[in-house]
Symmetry: C2
Subunit: 253 residues, 2 copies
Amino acid sequence: MNISIIGTGNLAFHFSEIFMSTSDINLIEIFGRKKTLPKEFNNSINYCNCLTKLKEADFYIICISDDYIKKISKKIITKRNNIVLHCSGSTKMDVLSDHLSHGVFYPIQTFSKEKKISFKKIPIAIESNSIKSLKKIKKLGLLLSEKVFLASSDQRLAIHVSAVFANNFTNYMRIIADEILKSNNIDSDILNPLSLETTDKLKYLSSKKAQTGPAIRNDIKTIKKHLHLLKSTNHFKIYEIISKEITKLNNEL
Amino acid sequence: MNISIIGTGNLAFHFSEIFMSTSDINLIEIFGRKKTLPKEFNNSINYCNCLTKLKEADFYIICISDDYIKKISKKIITKRNNIVLHCSGSTKMDVLSDHLSHGVFYPIQTFSKEKKISFKKIPIAIESNSIKSLKKIKKLGLLLSEKVFLASSDQRLAIHVSAVFANNFTNYMRIIADEILKSNNIDSDILNPLSLETTDKLKYLSSKKAQTGPAIRNDIKTIKKHLHLLKSTNHFKIYEIISKEITKLNNEL
């Protein structure tokens, strides 16, 4: 399979790494706006900064900001056999409808250039405008991951929202925790075993069963002590609203 | 060291397990309100439901709800050599001041009876009213964990608040994520690799550097799509307020 990657961000970088190390995949080119390929990429990869000069590929995988997917994709010249894919959780497939064969290839994971990652366990949500292309996209997905599944654009949006909670907001909870410790002269590393266990528990218990803490116990005295400590910070409101919602959960049980 | 555990909840259970398997510790008794020791505990442990009949111990470790610590602890009969400890994050040490030797033994971890846990990496925050007792408490702590450190009652409260964010609220983010997926007929297991990676990243990156997603990118279009999907749910407000705070963080950088 000949693949072109459009973009040089985090996801483009991780795709380039896994494509380079997968024997049935041939990464023929990366497109970016800059003059040269950013230095974190393997410098043996062909680089192109002119969309109309792209080589013909089986897949053009667009890994750029949602806002530019439609505009950039229109400039790619394709025939029926060239499938154009985007990788966005919250963008409908039909922004690519100028191309006869198009689809979506959405890996449910968080990517940072500084952190290596194995694709094997990453679920990939796919979609396509034709059954023929869908089969090809699935084949590509299975070269990277054990878990490739069909999801409509609406389902994908729901997955993306849920991923925002499970990753972005979860990470922000840890940012707040670290800030509270820092302002009390405590090393934030002491939370690492707790953070690890919080996720590890989900292998054995449902998230509802794993819920502990003052809010689920309706322990109003402790909640008040905590709110008092937070009262002059931006975190007060977040503590209050989340605790209120968890308390409702308690009443449901 | 002869130890009595006061209480039969999650923490009492995990302490009983680790004490039973630690050669320098002798778990002499557990106190509970019920007639008999709950069946999940090892049935070879002595059980007592009358506080005034407790055997003399080097440590009485109180593992009960914060609200009852003061009241219950007053009923324990002690001499100078018997140290009374509570394990609460948000309770000041001096609720135990009726006892000549007292202190705090606070393991920073989430405990559920259904999930086994290793104490070795769990940070334990300790405090005492005397240097002599503090040394003994530290010795006890080091039998269980590599990381035993001194924290004042105020610092411990800050640790507890931070743990609420890092564990309780983080778990609630996953409850929300699972709900969103369920209502869109998607298996919530697809988020497990993402949840694992979210925590694993923190070994390599600070929480601030690990932050990704629409809010930190100030991607207002995506945020609006997500809020639209959530508009008739309780999660709308939480999404809105957390995104607003993350966006502020973006402006700071």
